[in-house]
Amino acid sequence: MFVRPDNWNKMSPLERRKARLDAWQSAPVPFASSEAEANYKERIERLRKIYDMEPHDRPIADLFMGANEYIVRRKGIQGKDIIYDHEKLREPVLEFHREFQPDVSVAVLPYPGKPWDMLDFKTYIWGGQKLPDNLAIQAVEGEYMRADEYKDFAADPTAFWLKQYLPRAYGALGPLAMLPDFTRISESVDTIDLLVPFGLPPFQEMLKRMMDAGNELMRILGIVGQTGAMVAGEGFPAMGFNIVKTPFDYLGDTLRGTKGILMDMYRHPKDLLAATEAYVPVLIKSIVGASDRANAPSAMYVLHKGADGFMSKEQFEKFYWPTWKQVMLALYEEGITSYLFIEGSYNQRLEYLAEMPEKSLVCHFDKSDMKRVKEVLSDKFIIAGNVPASLMATGTTDDVRACCASLMDLFGDVPGYIMAHGCYFENSTDEKICAFIDSVKK
């Protein structure tokens, strides 16, 4: 938990940023040995200097957004195990860190398979459920909000999420639709409205199921948390972020679907704009709260529908960028760095990012032109990327070495650079992983 210092209200955004990074860097870790402690401190200090864009000995190589499944798959772990058997992941994860000594920890995302089953989760499918055992997880695009519901959403995004979206996304949560509008509960008799659903059998059954799923989740988080603490204790710091999205991507990925939201720019432009605008304060509050709870100095955006090719510049300027920028600026004011995981190409968007204040962003690229990235962004922001997943999966070790070397040539002299992948991959070789890790060591 991040606790704001007493003088928070008098601090500048960069002072707040420093306070958050200090808290992240000094969080207690159960070190396995004094050697592990020394390694951890050296690694997190290097990462800190990169985040601060201050002189440091070398860039780091971060495998998290690429090899997060490979680190266990190399030991025969299947997609189904990643979803359902978190205990089974511990040894392969620890073994990977001991063997490869990465600059920062690499975590397998903590997918809660059994709670998903218990709640009939619908927006993804996964290994051991509807996907074959060897695969992990895929999103199921759908229309979880109809176009005529934009006005409901804009009027009260939180109520829409609670009473309309969640019952559609989780089969077992249908009774949430019975909840009253909480903001109307004020007078003595309104207690009746508040409590009626809680007295009805379907709602009670749902609560019981949620509690059972919650208990199972806590068991999983116990295992995952212990693995994470052991990895940190053996000397490997985490990058420190929560995963978030832009207002447009929450609406597009989650509520309307790709086709739905892209059509809405033509068919329902005013409703779409009103919804993204209504989302802004809700999202800021939510991200700041999550960052505080996790003591995470960064919010990591997985960026989708604003990429080159999806929409025109005019559409980006009208529908995507303004509300996203508002959120990022508000986070900057709160001292939270926006870590942008930019899927696809962003060659036509770089100048927009350049509007943001210095040190407010980490820009992690997939398929963008890195020479332009350097020119436009590297003086102000930390840059990460962009070794292709295709190379890690099917290229030779020499190919990986050459790709990393050219990135080092390009970014060796910038204030902050992180060698990273543009996309995750299931398959690779240990030799290629070594080439990637070693590429930043002179």
Partner: protein
Amino acid sequence: MTQELIEAITDMREEDALEITKQLLDNGTDPVVILDACRESMTIIGKRFEDGDCFISELILAGEMLSEISAEVKPRLQQDSDAKKIGKVVLGTVQGDIHDIAKDIVGFMLDINGFDVTDLGVDVSPAKFVEAVQQTGAKVVGLSGFLTLAFDPMKFTVEALKNAGLTDVKVMIGGGQIDENIRQYTGADAYGKDAMAAVALAKSWS
């Protein structure tokens, strides 16, 4: 007035395009002329996409407009007036991957460019591709895949086609993480970076 229809479609004015279509039909315009105007519109949009002046949002909207116009026009056609097809393509998202948006755009662009497209949908096994090629006699296969997990199923599908003796069939691949590395890995004949590239490849093989 067909010029107005072309302009409405290419300017992405959906309501105008439908209104003009209705007026044309009411005025007794031959439905074939309207469908020809749609094809001309798509040629213009396709060229813009190729030049980087058109976006996925516009391609999807154009697809919607064309299907809405077709629904208005086709009941009034005297007979099936589909122009002669220039080739057959079997298309699908490979096994294990359920993404369909890019595949659908490719299918749509191939269709309006004169190809007879058999769309097998998503999560398509190598055996289903083989079966569809054998049934249709298609000489071009398009494999789509958004995720990195598509690499191996693409390779297995290329192998399955060869093992079934379909060596004269050309295979093109495309999708989010597909590039020349993956083309080599899978043994496909070509990869296309977007829908217009897929059309150009299919034309070059037909």
